[in-house]
């Protein structure tokens, strides 16, 4: 590791410890690091947008390639900025309307296919007498019961109450599995930081 790398890693280690200090209580070191990252992150995103989007989608097509029709989305984009003016703020709605229309129009058919049609298709498998068939049956029962738990137009009593009761147990198993995996995920984040600090200390003290 070169001297500059050592110093930069030292800075990263210092900022890491600043954030960890929050575990004891809120303090100026934590606040400093937290506010610093807000500015650095916004600055990074600004320049990233400039180079990867504004340059490619506005400067190059209009000024270098002469594709004049790219002025239309540019005008629509600039209209977004009228939100700062009380008098002209309504103009930003036009740009927003294009965005909402296109975003919702493209999403409806694909969500219908991926989240509804394919999921229902996956729930309608043949039930056989082997282990796969039993699992399919259990999954289908669990699904129907879990869906019935979310159905609030009928009172949850009698046979329907029983179904929704099975449904909530199914959901609890799902949430339990999710929580178990969440613990693994959160611990992983800590491990990465600990390994970083350990490696840095090993380099620093020649371990």
């Amino acid at each position: 590791m070169t001297t500059s790398e050592l110093l930069l890693n030292g800075l990263a280690a210092f900022l890491t410890l600043c954030i960890f200090s929050f575990l004891y209580k809120d303090n100026p070191f934590y606040k400093f690091a937290e506010r610093l990252v807000a500015g650095v992150s916004a600055g990074y995103w600004t320049m990233l947008l400039y180079h990867t989007s504004f340059h490619d989608k506005v400067i190059v097509p209009i000024f270098q390639q002469g594709y004049w029709w790219y002025i239309i989305p540019t005008i629509l984009g600039i209209m977004m900025w009228t939100r700062f003016s009380k008098k002209w703020a309504w103009l930003s709605r036009i740009s927003l309307a294009f965005y909402m229309g296109i975003a919702t129009g493209t999403s409806i058919p694909v969500v219908m296919y991926a989240a509804i049609y394919k999921q229902l298709e996956g729930s309608m498998n043949q039930i056989t007498t082997d282990a796969t068939g039993i699992n399919t049956l259990l999954m289908t029962i669990g699904l129907i019961c879990a869906v019935s738990y979310f159905y609030f137009s009928k009172e949850h009593d009698g046979w329907f109450g029983g179904m929704s009761r099975v449904g909530i147990y199914t959901l609890m198993i799902g949430f339990g599995a999710g929580f178990g995996l969440t613990v693994m995920g959160r611990i992983a984040l800590l491990i990465e930081r600990i390994i970083f600090l350990r490696d840095y200390l090993l380099v620093l003290f020649g371990g």
Binding site: L23, V110, L181, L190, I191
Partner: protein
């Protein structure tokens, strides 16, 4: 205060301290734990492993530093696997900090395998509005990305010669820490029928098993364990190779991290058991009083 009352009322800072100490154990006394490979990770490995040199894969490197601990190792392993088989890569980043994360890995792995931008891989970089970007790439990569991240026109790149959209790639593997994962499933697979696999964070993993069962995903790598499984398979492959691979002596971070996971999980499970024993004892005592 009875001892069981203490068991259910330990100060949070003691829990923090014990967890911190537990995570540090493997850092001081390193050890390894066995990693059992699951079918959902094996499917991704087999998919990549059966590709031929010169085939194309698309990687979506769409995560921020907040989830790099889980997704960096799996992205690194898959990129190394692809490059070791001379598979061409097209990559993009659909989260704003993803481009920086991708740069780190591309820089490291391409240097390891002596791969060149424009010849062996193309890094498209970041564009906002992921759902729309995924949709337009299904038409033609050039619609959203006329140039790669270094400003080179896609039409001037040998690696992009004749490559138009997802149809020219064997599949898409996304490394996801948010709802971009759903967009890959709904738009790339749903709209264009592209084979999609995902590497996701542990927090998200449980929600993606339904897509695995329907075939909308051909594989799933859940969190750090998924990454460790892929690294295990990759390491086994490297050991079988007749020639030495540049990755052979490299560190497998996720596999190394599994020891840390073990010690910290022992502590968390211990606290859960303590808390429940305390809870039952105090409830029993309350019943006696009544």
């Amino acid at each position: 205060m009875a001892f069981y009352d203490n068991m259910i009322d330990i100060d949070r800072r003691w829990i923090y301290l014990v967890l911190a100490l537990a995570v540090m154990i493997p850092a001081i006394i390193p050890f390894t734990v066995p990693v059992a490979v699951t079918p959902e990770v094996n499917d991704i490995f087999q998919f990549v492993d059966t590709l031929e040199a010169g085939d194309y894969m698309f990687l979506g490197i769409d995560y921020d530093p907040s989830s790099m601990a889980e997704l960096h190792p799996m992205c690194r392993a898959i990129m190394a696997h692809c490059f070791s088989k001379d598979i061409n890569l097209i990559m993009c980043s659909l989260s704003q900090n993803g481009q920086g994360m991708a740069e780190q890995i591309i820089d490291e792995i391409s240097a390891r395998y002596n791969k060149k931008s424009g010849e062996d891989y193309c890094f498209l970089g970041y564009k906002p509005y992921f759902a729309l970007v995924i949709l337009t790439m299904g038409l033609n990569f050039r619609v959203t990305y006329p140039n790669d991240v270094y400003g080179v026109s896609l039409d001037e790149m040998p690696v992009m010669d004749g490559i138009r959209n997802y149809n020219d790639c064997a599949g898409v593997i996304g490394f996801e820490s948010g709802n971009i994962a759903d967009a890959w499933i709904a738009y790339a697979n749903g709209r264009y029928d592209t084979p999609v696999a995902l590497g996701v964070t542990g927090v998200m993993a449980a929600n993606y098993y339904p897509y695995l069962q329907t075939g909308q995903l051909f594989g799933l790598m859940p969190g750090m364990k998924g990454a460790a499984e892929y690294e295990t398979l990759f390491k086994q492959r490297l050991e079988r190779l007749p020639e030495k691979d540049p990755s052979e002596d490299e560190r497998m971070v996720a596999r190394e991290s599994m020891a840390y996971q073990t010690t910290s999980h022992i502590v968390i499970l211990f606290f859960i058991i303590i808390s429940n024993i305390g809870f039952f004892l105090s409830r029993k005592h309350e019943k006696k009083i009544i």
